[in-house]
């Protein structure tokens, strides 16, 4: 087992621990903290895959923005989920069954398929290439994404604003 594989296993373990904590913990703030752990570990996986820019974006958006946004939403909808209230819906055993069955199916398929093993080295600076692609061949989807963000931002403000009487 090489060093890279050990690093991968540690990161994957951290991410899965964070994910399990996210769906198992009762306290919503603790859930967000577990989510942050999972997302930071996934950013580490991206670095292992030599996708540095994606890793930075992951930390900026998910850990920076999304966790703060979720915390704000939890504080605005406070004292809903105190200790007396159930955290899981009545159908949670079925949900667990579906999730475990899907995982068993997917991993059986993944482990039996012959995937390409050896890969070429990454050549050149990927960040430069990504930047050039975003203003070159991918300019139209890039602009569409910015329009989508604007619409989502305005929509969120309109929906969450208190109605004036």
């Amino acid at each position: 087992m090489t060093l890279t594989q050990i690093v991968f296993l540690i990161l994957a373990g951290l991410a899965l621990a964070g994910a399990v904590g996210m769906v198992a913990l009762r306290n919503l703030v603790h859930m967000v903290l577990a989510m942050v752990l999972a997302f930071v570990a996934v950013a580490g996986i991206f670095i292992l895959l030599e996708a540095g820019f994606v890793a930075v974006v992951q930390i900026l958006i998910y850990v920076g923005a999304l966790a703060i946004l979720t915390l704000f939403a939890i504080m605005l909808t406070r004292d809903i989920m105190d200790r007396r209230v159930r955290a899981n819906a009545a159908q949670w055993p079925w949900a667990l069954l579906v999730a475990v069955a899907l995982f068993a199916l997917l991993s059986a398929v993944f482990l039996r398929t012959g995937w390409p093993a050896a890969t070429a080295e990454i050549t050149g600076d990927q960040v430069v290439a990504l930047g050039e692609a975003l203003v070159g061949p991918y300019a139209l989807p890039f602009e569409a994404a910015s329009v989508l963000l604007l619409v989502a931002m305005i929509g969120a403000i309109v929906v969450a604003r208190e109605a004036r009487r």
Binding site: V54, Q58, L66, S107, W115
Partner: protein
């Protein structure tokens, strides 16, 4: 070198945990967080396939960047909806939001 199947199994586990969160949690914010986890698992798959199948192609990483953009928009609108529902119905438990039930 790490085999590609390790990444795929890891992403499948992440996806299934997110799926369980979406199906089992009562709190609407917990649901949204499960969806984010599932999107993240898909992103891991995209980057892994790009790295192993077309090492110097950029499509996988660009797809992930757009994916993250859509996820951020979804989270912003979703959380705004949850706050609006909380204002009008005073609850965020998903099974109590059943106005459309016949």
């Amino acid at each position: 070198m790490i085999p590609l199947s390790w990444y795929l199994v890891f992403a499948a586990a992440l996806f299934c945990i997110g799926l369980y969160g979406v199906l089992a949690r009562r709190h609407a914010i917990g649901l949204l967080m499960g969806v984010e986890l599932m999107l993240n698992a898909a992103n891991v798959n995209l980057v892994a396939f790009e790295r192993y199948v077309v090492p110097n192609g950029l499509a996988g990483q660009l797809f992930v960047i757009f994916n993250i953009t859509v996820a951020a928009a979804e989270a912003a609108v979703g959380l705004a909806l949850i706050i609006a529902i909380y204002r009008s119905r005073n609850t965020v438990a998903v099974e109590e939001i059943d106005l459309l039930r016949g």
